[in-house]
Symmetry: C2
Subunit: 191 residues, 2 copies
Amino acid sequence: LQENIRTAFSKFTNFTDTEWLDFSECFKTKHYKKGEYFIKEQAHCNYVGFIVKGLFNYYYLIDGVQHTRQFFFAHNFISDYSSFLLSRKSKAYIQALEDSSVILIHKNDLAIHYEKIPKIQKLGRKMAEYLYIIVSEKYESFLLKTAEERYLELIKSRPKVIKHIPQYMIASYLGITPEGLSRIRKRIAKK
Amino acid sequence: LQENIRTAFSKFTNFTDTEWLDFSECFKTKHYKKGEYFIKEQAHCNYVGFIVKGLFNYYYLIDGVQHTRQFFFAHNFISDYSSFLLSRKSKAYIQALEDSSVILIHKNDLAIHYEKIPKIQKLGRKMAEYLYIIVSEKYESFLLKTAEERYLELIKSRPKVIKHIPQYMIASYLGITPEGLSRIRKRIAKK
């Protein structure tokens, strides 16, 4: 397992054996059963996670209705990063959609390792850039695209989403009702 | 000027004289007259800018109507960072709202200096984290707050916005019509 994780992290920056040993000492592996939460509204998000296996739904709850911001798959970082960076309460929920395993890094440990092993700054940069791109794309897609365009984009760029996630959650991600999604799917099927 | 900029950058990371001399060699200072563009839709955003003085409007144009994503003030980084990071065309406009000066760093220069001076990774991390927080907050605020709450938040957190920016642009930032903003202002004045 450790070797797999090291390979995954080497996408971001290369560690020497000593550096990796030092850094990985602060990793905590946590298992989430389907339905369990990485973070809930009003809690402080003190961890950044690296999903080893599984799938998470990052959503807001408004008047009892879930509004999905993003789905996160294996080998991606996950966090309410504003809450993490600004040390304030989360406004979101991040919930496991299937049994999942995550490597957790506490923000104090990350801060220590940033100073101790300078190349972890690069990992931190890549992490922030990745999370930036994800949310910025979502913002642009809501502003500039129709629900149908967003759905076609999703099928193309994230076929896994389609496969693993219930339709009503995909509808929530697209910002439409399940009925709206059903109409879009029928329209596409006819083309 | 260089000393001011060095002080501003020292918020993010501390440079030795040699490092600063090396890094700052790739800075290009560009002056924008009011109305000029840092980036336009369909162009590649190859620079990250650090605003020395001035004010910029980061907006999308939809059916001829401006939708402001964010205003950027002096001593902040500015870029269409998705376009910058992913080397693809911008979907946005970034326009000077007053005569402005910006330090530009080309992405190739930044990439070279990331490897040459490791602590610039920290600067890059801080830059990405800042841009992440800005867009993530905007996303949450649109989803979770009313226009009136967004306006009150803006007055509190960014009094400069209120002072320097025409009302119709503030309305665009808030996602409402100028008439809607006018009604909100009257309602607040009565309280």
